[in-house]
């Protein structure tokens, strides 16, 4: 139990540092156990330092920087232990254009091993999806789902 936790923690730690650097194009981030002597109870400290900035508490990060750091951690965990599927509800909402692109690039890599279902309002995210479903309430209060893009159509689309 203890070995298993430590083993996966160290893997996540290594990947998190590199995903963070990819996302922020520099800077550094790492994970630390608050109490390494008590592995099964210890909390986890997260330190994130965007490029050029001083090391600070997570609370001083901006809305978009926090979301991007959280996504980097989530993706690191998924890389170490790929969940079969993952449903993400508007996690792209506070990212600016550049960060959205970086997020989507990494998502594409992970989607070889994990099925992603993304609820979104962002155009670029819609364009990245292979399959697209629309939800409407033509009849007020009644949700209906219809297919907007089937899997093989992705290649035919004029961009």
């Amino acid at each position: 139990m203890k070995e298993k936790f430590l083993d996966s923690f160290h893997q996540i730690k290594t990947i998190f540092s590199s995903v963070f650097k990819d996302f922020f194009e520099g800077g550094r981030a790492y994970l630390k156990l608050t109490d390494p002597n008590d592995v099964l109870e210890s909390g986890v400290e997260i330190i994130a330092q965007p490029p050029g900035k001083k090391l600070q508490n997570l609370s001083l990060l901006s809305g978009g920087e926090k979301a991007l750091t959280a996504i980097a951690l989530l993706f690191s965990v998924i890389k170490v232990k790929p969940a079969p599927f993952c449903i993400l509800d508007e996690i792209d909402v506070s990212l600016d254009g550049m960060n959205l692109k970086r997020f989507l690039n990494y998502l594409k890599v992970l989607s070889d091993n994990t099925q992603f279902i993304l609820i979104t309002h962002r155009r670029k995210t819609m364009e990245t999806a292979g399959v697209l479903y629309g939800v409407t309430m033509e009849e007020p209060g009644v949700s209906k789902v219809f297919s907007l893009r089937l899997p093989e159509e992705k290649d035919k689309r004029v961009s």
Binding site: E41, T69, A70, P84, I119, T120, M126
Partner: protein
């Protein structure tokens, strides 16, 4: 293991049966405010055994059942099914397809079914143990909840690491 289909009937804003076929890769779900997108994610979380109606944005479990509109009457039960393809057997059952269903009646009675055979929640939780699928797992991130991964207290952050161990 692949999630092939989500079937929803009578859950929240879905009085008519809806089937969502899924394929590998990235699937997008779009639509105007209030049309029912997050209700789909709630349906999956509920089907996998979520017990807290608060996490499902309700005030009581009955809020999960379609409550009616100006034109339609409330429905008496809600049912959500998830169909998994188990070709390279990750799930510890002999079937190549695994169908998990949850049903709730207004009376409060709630059933779980595994390939259409009634079972207890415990069997479903054990089936998915250690696969990364489940209501606690990092595989369901609700609207506005991504920041919670960095949550305030270090001891609260452990759970995502435990899931992955």
């Amino acid at each position: 293991m692949l999630l092939k289909k989500i079937e929803i009937y009578g859950f929240k804003s879905f009085p008519q049966k809806v089937e969502i076929e899924l394929s590998p890769g990235i699937t997008g779900i779009i639509g105007p405010n209030g049309c029912g997108k997050s209700n789909i994610s709630d349906a999956v979380r509920w089907c996998l055994g979520e017990q807290s109606f608060k996490t499902l944005r309700g005030n009581q479990m009955e809020d999960m059942i379609f409550n009616g509109t100006d034109q339609r009457k409330p429905i008496s039960f809600a049912e959500v099914s998830l169909l998994f393809d188990n070709l390279d057997p990750e799930l510890n059952v002999d079937y190549t397809e695994v169908n998990v269903t949850r049903r709730l009646f207004r009376s409060g009675e709630s059933d779980y079914l595994l390939n259409k055979v009634p079972c207890r929640l415990k069997e479903i939780t054990e089936l998915f143990h250690d696969t990364g699928v489940g209501k606690e797992a990092y595989s369901l991130i609700g609207q506005g909840k991504i920041d919670q991964i960095l949550s305030a207290r270090p001891e609260d952050r452990r759970s995502i690491f435990e899931e992955a161990a």
